[in-house]
């Protein structure tokens, strides 16, 4: 069965410091991978996605992620965080729905990011 593991439940970094959020997935086929961000009381906003090709993908808000097939990982990075980056971050793998359209997403548990001033 498909699964996503985010090993860090809560991470605290200082404003201006670099950030890396870890994500490991389990999926039998070529994975379609996503990172979403959720601010308190809000829905999910897509940060970036990987479908194929270049394993380093760029997203919005200065985020990037690197797909490493050998490690089954899709870690999210940002060189310098801002106070507004404080939120919950979710990694997800897209699983094709054969009888429907698009895909369903299997999410990790999430990593809560706190920014120290």
């Amino acid at each position: 069965a498909q699964s996503v593991t985010q090993p860090d439940i809560h991470i605290t970094v200082s404003e201006g410091a670099s950030l890396e959020l870890r994500c490991n997935y389990s999926y039998g086929a070529t994975p379609y991978l996503f990172w979403y961000v959720q601010s308190p009381g809000q829905g999910l906003q897509l940060l970036l996605k990987y479908f194929s090709g270049d394993t380093l993908v760029q997203g919005i808000k200065g985020f990037e992620a690197e797909f490493k097939r050998s490690q089954s990982s899709f870690n999210l990075r940002k060189p310098s965080v801002h106070w507004s980056d404080a939120a919950e971050y979710f990694c997800a793998v897209g699983v094709r729905i054969t009888t429907g359209r698009a895909q369903k997403l299997v999410f990790g548990q999430g990593t809560r990011l706190t920014i120290n001033p």
Binding site: G43, L46, A92
Partner: protein, 114 residues
């Protein structure tokens, strides 16, 4: 261009009651999926609707049902509410039959069961 809209934003119900949540997809989208997000957890797939039919269901009991209307909007119904049904319910819409059709999420309905 309105994104995905959900109503109501908050709801309080009592155990055993029934609830209906509503979702309007992003303009141009024809597929609606529902997710349940318990406190401190990632969202879990409930089901997906396309062409007014339920296409796939996650690991949720039959108490959870849905409907899609000709204008692509959707409803999620939950019968015989349990305390464990308290969660944020997210609607996501998309278009196209390709797996790289991104999902757009609404802000959710916060359901509290007392």
């Amino acid at each position: 261009d309105a994104g995905v809209t959900q109503s109501p934003t908050h709801l309080i119900k009592t155990r055993g009651q029934q609830v209906t949540l509503r979702c309007s997809p992003k303009s141009g989208h024809d597929t609606v999926s529902w997710y349940q997000q318990a406190l401190g957890q990632g969202p879990q797939f409930i089901f997906q609707y396309y062409e007014e039919e339920e296409r796939q269901r996650g690991n949720f009991p039959d108490r959870f049902s849905g409907h899609q209307f000709p204008n692509y909007s959707s409803e999620l119904n939950v019968n015989a509410l349990l305390l464990g049904d308290s969660a944020l319910y997210l609607c996501a819409s998309s278009f196209g039959d390709r797996v790289n059709s991104p999902l757009h999420f609404g802000n959710g309905t916060r359901l509290t069961v007392t």
